[in-house]
Amino acid sequence: MKDNFDFERIWESKRALRERLATAPIAEKLRMLDALHERAAAIRGARFREATAVQEKPGGYGDRKEKTS
């Protein structure tokens, strides 16, 4: 169990990743920003579609159709 959750090792690997990213060539980092931005825009677009979509709501208890005859 301890081997699976060795937080020191997890932090160390995160720190190493951040360092690798920070020292990457600038052009590469800017391309990553482009990709992050596109992803964020897609998520925002999906949220907007969700919020504005017409949704069918289930009828409540006791809802009845008016009888026409």
């Binding site: 360092e19 920070a22 600038i26 980092k29 920003l33 482009d34 992050l36 931005h37 964020a40 825009a41």
Partner: protein, 174 residues
């Protein structure tokens, strides 16, 4: 969506005399020195020409130049190559100085003016929102600052109290 295209357009604005000089700030500016962090827009500080015959400084020439080139307005942003870009005149003596002392960087054969890390960090300290504090911490943890230059800026721009408060809030392990 390409930041490099944004930089190309802004360089062209300088060449065409629409703006005098510029410097990239915010998260995009910080990415030149730190790991990339997702951001919604590009902040570009600019030195403006006064309109001939007027002492008024206005962003209108920038907007009309970009509109003529097919860019759309989105609130206070102009969308260039898919990126909302905000053009901001200097808001404090610190930012004015940062603009004058910006670093000229080369990216893929393109020249880009960017605030130096010490100015980005000092502006983050001055602005003081949660995300600015997080950025300042990033600069410190990544050892991306010349501490002597940074502390000299802190002192000269009356940020000593804010810096002390920040250090108390985020004690360093160094």
């Amino acid at each position: 969506m390409k930041i490099l295209e944004v930089i190309h357009v802004v360089n062209q604005m300088v060449a065409d005399g629409v703006i005098e000089r510029y410097a990239i700030a915010g998260a995009v500016g910080a990415t030149f020195y730190l790991e990339p962090v997702s951001t919604l827009d590009v902040d570009i500080f600019i030195e403006l020409h006064a309109t001939p015959g007027s002492a008024l400084l206005t962003l209108d020439p920038i907007f009309s130049y970009l509109r003529d080139r097919g860019c759309m307005m989105e609130g206070e942003h102009v969308v260039i190559s898919g990126w909302p870009v905000q053009f901001i005149p200097p808001t404090s003596p610190l930012v004015e100085e940062a603009l004058a002392n910006a670093a000229e960087m080369q990216v893929d054969g393109l020249s880009a003016r960017v605030f130096t890390p010490e100015y980005l960090a000092a502006i983050a300290l001055q602005t003081g929102r949660a995300k600015d504090k997080a950025r300042l911490l990033q600069f410190i943890e990544a050892h991306a600052l010349d501490r002597k230059k940074f502390e000299e800026l802190v002192e000269r721009h009356q940020l000593v109290d804010k810096w002390r408060q920040f250090q108390k809030q985020f004690p360093s392990n160094e």
